[in-house]
């Protein structure tokens, strides 16, 4: 039980950190805005 709980904790923390990093730090690069009408919309 001891080690399973620890593994679960580390998994949860890793997932949470990964989510936050993806949300706030990687967003500028991966963001492909599909809205048209603005200058750099990439839909020409």
């Amino acid at each position: 039980m001891w080690s399973l709980q620890h593994i679960l904790v580390y998994l949860a923390v890793a997932a949470a950190v990964a989510y936050l990093v993806k949300k706030y730090f990687l967003k500028p690069k991966s963001k492909k805005e599909r809205t048209c009408g603005m200058d750099d919309c990439g839909c020409h």
Binding site: M1, W2, L4, Q5, H6, L8, V9, A12, V13, A15, A16, V17, Y19, L20, K23, Y24, K27, P28, E33, R34, T35, C36, G37, M38, D39, D40, C43, H44
Partner: protein, 698 residues
């Protein structure tokens, strides 16, 4: 997968495009009543009676194909660029029966592009009341198209429309008007320069001076055509509009009649009252007052229930699951974190219930009109009211909604001041602090807590207007614009539209904010239950060894150990590091941590405190009770007392505590300069005001 028929819904603002879209696709949608709310792209699929499927796109409202705002430009582009994916196989032009003439201008323009088009005349349910009679057959003949008379409200005419969509290939695509008649020599030259292009399409490309540069430039590059005389183009555009009106007038007088004696005129009476220069504001203020009172009173019961339930659940988890770190994570990190989000669902649902009722009933447009007088004086326009009111939900869609403002300066100012408006993310912060420091009493019949909340909304709005006034003096002026507001008829709100709005807003709050808060509470719990020093690992021995602690009961001893451990955990170390900066505002290291984490999103403040106050405690107590009994070690008084509470409220009212707002402002202004200025000014100001308030109140 076979190729789906692509259908675009096009029309003036407020003609019921979104309502029709909801009916056709059945998807969850935001439906608004003031011009320009349809900013985001809405798509869906519709099943046709013959078994086929159509892909439906709900475009923003537009008055004509001569775009004057970014919103309209989007529509024009989607109709001019054949190669892009949004180019429709069929345009469904939605018109409102009460404003048919103006709506037909757009229809004839689309028809001239030789895109198959169906004319939908919506709001047929209003015809009798307004004394309108309509000859659909004559219209069909004159416009050379299919006309569907329907009511999105009464759900009539939908099947007919679906059938027409299915048979779209039988639609005639002949144009209504030939532009070359406007100025034979000019259009001859234009056509000669680009022999392969369709003349009307070409004319639209050339005449969109700002809007369609890209198309224009590629055209110009492909050919040496460089003649662009703007005054002449403007003159031709006017000529085109006049020609279209003449064309429409020729048959509309026969096909469309209004018997004024049959029309009931309570609308104009109501308009006069609601937009009265004194009475109008008084009524608006009263409605707001009632709204905030109701939000407070109605949601207190479900909120208490949610609060208690989560406290029970945490305790149950702690007692019934096998002991270990994961159980603690669940009971002290995840559950309080989720509870901190869910508890605001009732209030957020009520807020959006009222906002969507105001929009749906048609009252919101009167507010826009009423406020335009006021806004003008502050360098804003009546159209700024749309983003400012949307800002009560969230600054992000609000900043996006400014695309509707044509004037650069007005748009810039609106973007810069919108984050002062009390957004729903501030609501949780305000609610918990108000509950802690403002007594639950009535003052001349009004609930004091509700009054405080309303005061904060007024404060945010006032601050936005004030800073707009200052910015108006600083930012260099460009051209001035005039303001046209759409005044839709008063309507009994459609339950479906209201329900969709409430569900959608609540869902997106829970999902978007919820995920972030959940992730942050996991990380926080981890940082709060781990440390690196002996102080952390040997907390129990150290606390027991301290002579002044020998008198403590076992229970008190446990609390002392937990709090010693928390102070020496990673989070405690971070909190203590920033404490000197925020101590003058009356905050301790726990609030400091919440300030840092809530920069991701303001509502994280509550989740953070919930997590911090739960770590190491096993009693069943609500977070609010724990917070309210916490003592500031330095002053020996309650941590959340009146001065600290007010200081926190003011800090959150003014500070730009939101990464996403910075990101969207960067995107909309296309530079880091504006978001940076915004951050420094707002947060600096917030610090000073909070400092001042705390120092004066203690």
């Amino acid at each position: 997968m076979g190729k789906q028929l692509k259908v675009s819904l096009i029309g003036n603002p407020n003609t019921g495009k979104t309502s029709l879209f909801n009916l056709l696709t059945g998807l969850n949608q935001q439906v608004g009543n003031y011009p320009g709310i349809t900013v985001e792209k809405k798509e869906g699929t519709c099943r046709l009676p013959g078994g086929g499927k159509a892909h439906i796109l709900d475009l923003p409202g537009t008055y004509s194909l001569n775009a004057s705002s970014a919103d309209e430009q989007l529509v024009v582009e989607s109709l001019l660029r054949k190669e892009q994916p949004d180019f429709p196989d069929l345009a469904v032009v939605v018109a409102d029966v009460e404003n048919l003439k103006r709506n037909l201008i757009l229809f004839t323009q689309i028809k001239d592009l030789k895109i198959p088009a169906i004319l939908v005349i919506n709001m047929a349910d209003q015809m009798e009341r307004r004394g309108i009679s309509l000859d659909v057959e004559l219209l069909e003949k004159k416009l050379n198209t299919r006309v569907v008379l329907m009511s999105a409200r009464k759900k009539t005419g939908i099947d007919e429309l679906k059938k027409q969509i299915e048979d779209y290939q039988q639609l005639p695509v002949s144009p209504c008007l030939s532009v070359s008649e406007l100025d034979a020599t000019y259009f001859e030259r234009l056509q000669k320069a680009f022999p392969e292009e369709d003349l009307y399409r070409l004319w639209l490309c050339v005449s969109q001076d700002v809007a369609l540069k890209k198309i224009d430039e590629s055209l110009l590059k492909a050919n040496e055509y460089s003649e662009r005389n703007t005054p002449e183009i403007k003159r031709l555009q006017q000529k085109e509009t006049i020609a279209r009106y003449l064309y429409i007038n020729r048959f509309l007088n026969n096909a469309y009649q209004v018997d004024r004696t049959k029309a009931t005129d309570w609308r104009s009476v109501l308009d006069r009252i609601l937009t009265h220069r004194i009475g109008g504001y008084a009524i608006f203020f009263l409605i707001m007052l009632l709204m905030f009172q109701a939000i407070y009173n109605w949601s207190s019961i479900p909120m208490d229930f949610i609060d208690q339930s989560f406290a029970h659940l945490s305790e149950w988890t702690n007692n019934h699951l096998p002991e270990g770190p994961f159980t603690s994570l669940l009971a002290e990190g995840i559950l309080p974190g989720i509870g901190g989000v869910v508890i605001f669902v009732p209030q957020i649902a009520f807020l959006f219930l009222f906002i969507s009722l105001l929009e749906e009933s048609g009252y919101m447009s009167r507010i826009v009109f009423l406020m335009d007088r006021l806004m003008r004086r502050f360098g804003l326009s009546g159209k700024s009211v749309v983003p400012l009111i949307s800002g009560t939900a969230c600054a992000i869609p609000a900043v996006m909604a400014t695309r509707n403002i044509e004037n650069w300066k007005e748009r810039m100012i609106t973007i810069l001041v919108t984050p002062f408006i009390t957004c729903s993310a501030r609501l949780p912060v305000y609610l918990i602090i108000i509950a802690l420091v403002i007594p639950d009493q009535t003052f001349v019949g009004f609930n004091l807590q509700g009054l405080t909340l309303m005061g904060l909304y007024v404060l945010g709005f006032g601050m936005a207007v004030l800073s707009a006034f200052v910015l108006d003096k600083i930012i260099k002026n460009k051209a001035h614009t005039t303001f046209v507001v759409e005044m839709p008829a008063y309507k009994v709100p459609m339950a479906k539209n209201v329900l969709y709005t409430v569900l959608e807003k609540t869902k997106s709050f829970v999902l978007v904010a919820g995920k972030i808060i959940l992730a942050i509470s996991i990380v926080l719990w981890f940082l709060a239950s781990n440390g690196y020093s002996d102080d952390f690992y040997q907390a129990e021995e150290i606390v027991r060894a301290q002579p002044e602690n020998t008198m403590l009961s076992e229970q008190e001893m446990q609390t002392a150990v937990a709090s010693y451990q928390l102070q020496h955990s990673y989070i405690g170390i971070i909190g203590h590091a920033i404490e000197p900066v925020i101590r003058p505002l009356g905050y301790d290291w726990k609030i400091g941590i919440a300030l840092v984490t809530s920069f991701a999103a303001r509502e994280v403040f509550v989740g953070t405190l919930a997590t911090i106050y739960s770590v190491g405690s096993e009693e069943e107590e609500t977070i609010k009770e724990r917070m309210s009994s916490d003592v500031n070690i330095r002053t020996g008084k309650k941590l959340f007392d009146f001065p600290t509470g007010i200081s926190l409220l003011l800090f959150y009212a003014f500070a730009l505590q939101c990464m996403s707002t910075l990101a969207i402002v960067k995107k909309e202004t296309n530079s880091w300069k504006w978001p940076f200025i915004q951050l420094v000014l707002m947060s600096g100001f917030a610090y000073l005001v909070a400092l001042g308030a705390y120092q004066v109140l203690t």
